[in-house]
């Protein structure tokens, strides 16, 4: 094993090992939650170490380590940080899952042993998806994400959780099984499953096999059927991970796998995908504007944002891709904050329905400030990091056709509409029937969870180039474009 790459393996093994520790080692019940939180914080520390080690100028695959898994089919445990965007997405994962674990501690989830073990397992699986450099390993982590999500939603979710889990699992598994077929065909054709040494394939079918899985997971219109139920019925912090991180896995898949391995497919299906993404962007925004509850707004806005990110990716130029990566991080943080706040509001009012909410701002300044600040960033007010991301995406996709940029610009107006509607329905107007005077403002613990996430957003607003200049090495997107040209 390459000794330089220990940090990537550590980032995968710390949460997985933590999960095993919590499951298998007998410890007093009160220790379990703090242990899980401590492990997630350690995970962030390891990620910071990884940032320190990463050479952004060099790009490419770094901090990699490889270990043969089984030789006859050429599969290996090969992990590493491929380009800066992997690093940022892993960072997003560590931060959002740590916040979610902390929220779980604050809420005091029952059956802590199972709960925190699954949360940590999920963290490890997501980091694994981002860092895997072998297609079969990628698939293993991809599926491994589903197991904890299934149980987390199914066992701790809301009243309609059983339907929600069934739809969620059926949608995502059908997508991923098609991907498995594509993985097998690609691997046996190339004689290796490595994403590094495996060559490009010109098969449109293989591209579609992978794309279906990513489209469902993102989700991109019209494969979003699982989204509203899953986001509504999950525990709030699981929704935060689902929308903040798991949806990014899909966009990551396009970038890491489809662009590097299937340039012909990207070329052939660019227009349909751009169109679907644009439809999803507008349609999701409209649904978010019509949604009757907080989580509905965040869920559909998440779908709209995934459409926007896909637009940026399939622009296939530096501007679009870098903007998409920045927007992935932005949206990950934004939707995590919003879902955690939504969880807090639901705990106080016992409902997320707008017609029973209202007037939360009076006497609850901290909650109002947090929701307002995040909302303003979410609607991409100029000067915010989301503005920077969306601007880069629109400028990038403009080169594929001005129509996409126009649709994107309209969607930004729609975003302002649905975010402001949500803010006014929760914070302003007169106090709704579900809002009692006794409902408390955000507690210190809740602030301690949300404020760091918001601080990150503000930091990025001041310096979006921290990510957008370090997402891909110089000319990476141009390389994809060249590969496409050559493949034509």
């Amino acid at each position: 094993m390459n000794a330089h790459g220990w940090i990537t393996t550590t980032l995968i093994l710390v949460p997985l090992g933590g999960a095993l520790l919590i499951w298998l080692i007998p410890m007093p019940r009160v220790w379990i939650a703090p242990t899980a939180l401590l492990i997630s914080l350690f995970e962030i520390a390891f990620w910071i170490e990884a940032v320190a080690r990463f050479d952004f100028d060099k790009g490419g695959l770094q901090e990699s380590s490889q270990l043969t898994w089984f030789t006859d089919l050429g599969v290996s445990y090969h992990v590493g940080m491929f380009e800066g965007y992997t690093l940022w997405l892993v960072g997003l994962t560590t931060v959002v899952t740590a916040a979610s674990v902390a929220y779980g501690v604050w809420v005091g989830r029952d059956r802590p042993r199972a709960y925190y073990g699954l949360m940590l397992f999920l963290t490890g699986a997501i980091v694994g998806v981002f860092t895997a450099q072998d297609l079969l390993l990628f698939y293993v982590f991809w599926e491994a994400m589903l197991i904890p999500l299934y149980v987390l939603i199914g066992a701790w979710g809301g009243p309609r959780r059983l339907q929600a889990t069934i739809t969620f699992v059926v949608y995502t598994m059908v997508g991923s099984l098609v991907m498995l077929a594509a993985v097998i065909v690609y691997g046996l054709q190339q004689g290796t499953f490595s994403m590094i040494t495996g060559g490009t394939s010109s098969s449109d079918w293989l591209f579609l096999g992978f794309a279906i899985a990513f489209i469902v997971k993102a989700p991109i219109f019209p494969f979003h059927g699982w989204l509203p139920d899953a986001y509504r019925e999950s525990p709030a912090e699981v929704s935060a991970v689902l929308s903040g991180v798991v949806s990014k896995v899909a966009a990551f898949g396009f970038l890491r796998i489809c662009f590097s391995l299937f340039p012909v497919g990207v070329h052939d299906f660019r227009t349909p995908l751009l169109v679907l993404a644009a439809i999803g962007l507008v349609y999701g925004s409209l649904l978010a504007f019509r949604a009757p509850d907080i989580r509905g707004v965040i869920a559909y806005s998440s779908m709209a944002q995934m459409g926007l990110i896909t637009l940026g990716l399939f622009a296939t130029n530096d501007l679009g891709v870098d903007g998409a990566v920045l927007q992935m991080v932005n949206h990950g943080l934004i939707s995590a904050i919003l879902f955690l706040l939504a969880g807090g509001i639901e705990r106080r009012a016992a409902t997320g329905q707008f017609d029973r909410l209202g007037g939360f701002a009076r006497g609850r300044p901290a909650l109002a400030t947090m929701l307002m600040a995040t909302g303003v960033i979410a609607l991409a007010v100029p000067g915010s990091t989301a503005f920077a991301g969306e601007f880069a995406i629109l400028a990038g996709v403009f080169q594929q056709g001005w129509g996409y940029a126009v649709v994107g610009a309209i969607a930004i107006v729609l975003a302002a509409m649905y975010v402001l509607r949500m803010i006014s329905a929760v914070l302003h107007e007169k106090a709704g029937p579900a809002v009692s005077e006794a409902a408390l403002d955000l507690r210190h613990a809740e602030l301690a969870i949300v404020v760091p996430l918001l601080a990150l957003l503000l930091f990025l607003s001041a310096w979006p180039a921290a990510i957008s200049d370090r997402a891909t090495s110089a000319g990476a997107a141009a390389g994809y474009a060249q590969a496409e040209e050559a493949a034509k």
């Binding site: 499951w23 043969t68 898994w69 089984f70 030789t71 006859d72 089919l73 059956r111 079969l136 698939y139 293993v140 982590f141 599926e143 491994a144 589903l146 197991i147 299934y150 149980v151 199914g154 066992a155 959780r161 059983l162 889990t165 069934i166 699992v169 059926v170 598994m173 059908v174 099984l177 098609v178 498995l180 077929a181 097998i184 065909v185 691997g187 046996l188």
Partner: protein, 493 residues
């Protein structure tokens, strides 16, 4: 006088695995009459466990020392690594079956139960090494008769008797078809041994001989009954449901190993020249099994029936590996069998534990909440279901991956897609079990009366061993595939 009868030289090591089990069976028979009732069960169980351990050790030795395969005992059985590996899996399954059986409520006939377990295991190992049509039939009947009685051993329970009778009639029919087919093949080739048949087919140009092809088809049908592949599966749900659960556990795991290994062997040695026919036939049977098993399992409420249909669908997956007709397929089959045996026996062991606790049949409804109530068994069942569904991190995932890869290597992408579709359908009912274990609303939970978990340490050890194989085979796939590769090297693949 005896000395004047010519005897073939006997390779004792080659036949030691099943001799060990026969010896254990003999001792258990004596235990049945000589040991007082109070200690009879303990003695018989330990002797049986000893028999399986001895068979396991001998099989491992045999694997180590059979680098080149050869026919022994007048070429009636084959000494090679394929047979040895099958024996290892069967002996391991038998050992776990002993732990599962320990707390089964036997109404009399305790020692006889263990006798039959030994003879069934011995017969299966014998079948896996059979090298001509006679020994094939002998092995098949040997373990089948043991299993018929085992299914009906709970003679006071009507369902158990029904299961035994059903299995006897349907199994007897299957054996008759197999025997008839063997006779036709003998008639066409004038040969009994697998190698002889192959030689005769090529030297007499019998590839298109209708007698031979009919015989081959009938042999396939007969073996189809034993591996419970559709459309020869009708007996499976009823027998699996009615038989004592510990018997079902052993039967579901070990029978498949023996019958599928024999199928791989006979098709690739005796009928290698007919590969253009049987690959298609096996693929069709595989698709039928996948369809029937998965669709029927969707509507099952009784867990044993659900697992029975699931075992039919897994027969389908494993037949894909045989239909692929390449070395990768052979490896895929053996790897899949190792994992499947562990998952299957483990899952039935959990069902057995729940059944004993509740005193009634286990259904999806009365499984509710078991995951929280019995964390160890619940987590184990969860693992087995994930493995059956082919999700990582279990060997079930890599088994499917290997099977699909083998099919793709043959150029049968359509078979891969059928398998993928079947996997997608199967998720629904495997996840339904997990849903029952963990996700029912509190109001629907049916906690067992009494509250204290029954103390059944042996069963738990067996279940933990199965979990270890299920998950360990995912991480340690290389050594297992190496074992399988060397075993498959015994065949001309």
């Amino acid at each position: 006088m005896i000395a004047s009868i010519p005897r073939p030289p006997v390779d004792w090591l080659a036949i030691s695995p099943w001799l060990a089990l026969l010896a254990a069976a003999g001792v258990c028979l004596l235990v049945a009459v000589l040991v007082p009732e109070r200690t009879r069960k303990a003695v018989a169980a330990s002797v049986t466990a000893g028999g399986f351990v001895a068979a396991f050790v001998f099989a491992a030795l045999l694997y180590d020392r059979s680098g080149t395969g050869q026919g022994v005992v007048a070429d009636a059985v084959r000494r090679d690594r394929l047979a040895a590996l099958a024996a290892i899996i069967i002996a391991g399954a038998g050992l776990v079956a002993v732990t599962v059986s320990w707390s089964e409520r036997h109404r009399g006939h305790v020692a006889e139960y263990y006798v039959l377990l030994c003879t069934a295991g011995g017969g299966m190992i014998f079948l896996a090494s059979a090298n001509n049509l006679m020994t094939m039939f002998l092995g098949l009947e040997w373990f089948s008769i043991s299993l018929y009685i085992l299914c009906a051993i709970d003679a006071e329970k009507e369902r158990s008797l029904e299961a035994g009778l059903k299995y006897l009639i349907v199994g007897g029919f299957g054996s008759a078809v197999l025997l008839f087919g063997s006779a036709l093949v003998y008639g066409a080739t004038k040969e009994l041994s697998f190698d002889g048949i192959a030689a005769s087919i090529s030297s007499n140009d019998l590839v298109h001989d209708s007698l031979l092809v009919t015989g081959l088809a009938m042999i396939l049908v007969g073996l189809g009954f034993k591996v419970s592949a559709a459309p020869f599966h009708m007996w499976t749900p009823d027998v699996y449901e009615g038989a004592p659960t510990s018997v079902t556990a052993f039967m579901s795991a070990a029978t498949k190993v023996a019958a599928l290994v024999l199928m791989l062997r006979i098709l690739n040695t005796a009928f290698a020249a007919e590969a253009h026919l049987w690959t298609v036939a096996v693929a069709v049977i595989a698709v039928a099994s996948l369809a029937v098993g998965n669709l029927a399992a969707l509507v099952q409420k009784n867990l044993k029936r659900l697992l029975a249909y699931s075992s039919i669908s897994h027969a389908g997956f494993m037949l894909i590996a045989i239909a692929a007709n390449n070395a990768l397929g052979g490896r895929a089959l053996l790897y899949y069998l190792m994992v499947y045996a562990a998952m299957s026996i483990g899952a039935f062991a959990v069902v057995a534990a729940r059944e004993r606790e509740l005193g009634q049949d286990v259904t999806l409804d009365n499984l509710a909440g078991m995951g929280w109530e019995r964390p160890l068994l619940g987590a184990a069942m969860w693992t087995f279901m994930l493995g059956f569904a082919g999700l990582p991190p279990t060997g079930g995932f890599l088994g499917k991956f290997y099977v699909f890869s083998a099919a793709y290597e043959t150029g049968w992408l359509w078979l891969v897609l059928v398998g993928i579709a079947a996997t997608a359908v199967s998720l629904y009912y495997y996840l339904a079990v997990i849903r029952a274990l963990y996700m029912r609303p509190t109001a629907e939970l049916q906690f067992a009366a009494g509250g204290q978990p029954p103390r059944d340490l042996l069963l738990q050890i067996g279940v933990v061993a199965c979990v270890a194989v299920t998950i360990g085979s995912f991480f340690g796939v290389q050594p297992l595939v190496d074992l399988a590769q060397k075993a498959v090297a015994s065949l001309p693949l």
